[in-house]
Symmetry: C2
Subunit: 235 residues, 2 copies
């Protein structure tokens, strides 16, 4: 069998020249592929064009895999590999990490299709590097509950887990709730627990601050509606 491979292609975290954050090795593969599975076609085309693909964007084939794609449609994707290699691109950052692309990767393993991950930016890892918090042990916990009481309980649980495992806890939030979350973290956490907010990384608006809950309470900062990663480590 001479089937194609699945290349996992990271994308930039903002609207800027892809070469700022995507290695030439990744861009080279991207420019040569003809078939793509993408979270959104419009963004993917724009990325390909900014990556220096010339002339033949109209000849490329795009298949959509997002939260609306049903299981039946996903099961048909492996047929694409009969024709050659396929690139998987998600909306921002690493494909198949916290996005529906993981279902295709999983399917490829089950069907014996080779999976090749390419290097690119991860907002979670950029935030972890920038925090100075424990990188020997960390967990990404996704979103906290939106309801105030559940959210407070979740914050205290995060701190308990962080203390028990000496584990940095990483969470994200819908941008319009960033400032509410930061306030909740500062108020609910132990005064000495460290909290890092890392926003808009890799863009000119990048912002990183890491200080104790006590310091955040004394000296609060408004993040605003930009992508932000929050990290906490109990002391």
């Amino acid at each position: 069998m001479n089937r194609g491979k699945l290349f996992l292609i990271p994308s930039p975290l903002g609207e800027y020249d892809p070469a700022e954050v995507i290695p030439e090795g990744t861009l080279k593969v991207l420019r040569e592929l003809k078939t793509f599975v993408v979270e959104e076609v419009r963004t993917a085309r724009r990325y390909l064009s900014a990556a220096g693909l010339k002339g033949h964007i109209q000849e490329l084939e795009f298949y959509v895999l997002n939260e609306h794609t049903c299981a039946d449609e996903i099961r048909q994707l492996p047929a694409l590999f009969e024709k050659g290699d396929v690139g998987l691109i998600s909306e921002a950052g690493l494909p198949a990490v916290a996005d529906p692309g993981a279902a295709l990767v999983d399917l490829c393993h089950r069907e014996g299709i080779q999976v090749i991950p390419l290097a690119g930016p991860s907002s979670l890892m950029l935030a972890l590097m920038a925090s100075g918090l424990n990188g020997q042990s960390f967990a990404f916990r996704g979103y906290l509950p939106a309801k105030p009481e559940e959210r407070k309980a979740a914050i205290r649980r995060l701190e308990k887990d962080s203390a028990a495992l000496r584990q940095t806890q990483i969470i994200i939030e819908t941008p319009y709730r960033n400032d509410t979350l930061l306030k909740d973290l500062a108020e609910q956490l132990n005064p000495h627990t460290r909290i890092c907010a890392a926003a808009a990384l890799t863009t000119p608006e990048a912002f990183v601050r890491c200080q104790s809950a006590q310091q955040w309470r004394k000296d609060p900062v408004l993040i605003g509606k930009i992508p932000c990663v929050f990290l906490i480590l109990a002391q």
Copy 2:
């Protein structure tokens, strides 16, 4: 105050052209810096030279920050920023994630020095992308204990945590123990728990396989002594 900033500079995961995995935006900053804090001077010089730095490697200043650096020496590093920007480089991949560089980042936050993380490859995230396992919830747990009984108990605990939080568990091992670890995982874990081995990513020897514990038992693979990341997800 007009102090320098700390730039966090990722490095390649193997001996190849840095442009394969390091974005031009990161290489551009790397080539302009004059002062570096590095895990090992020899590797850092080689990286700078491969990154296209011309002529003035001899004029650069290198300071070592590794597991032998004492707390007193680390406390003196912020003085470097009086003279300008500083680059932090670790041995392979992201600086300050699972290496002593995190101590410098932490100190910079305490001293009000700006920290700027730059994009580059993370073996953990490449492995997570390539596994197709849950990327909405995952934890990096570092190394398991070396003693057989403790290690088996740790493996069963990982599976329990994975099931309770639907959390992908990521671990690493000293390369010469890769094959023992993979065997232990296959034997100790529930037959349906998925195990991914992702080795030598970004190099020509890259290998990724993700299958159930049962399948690993039936169809074992020898990884050998190459850098490998292991991931498990209870089903």
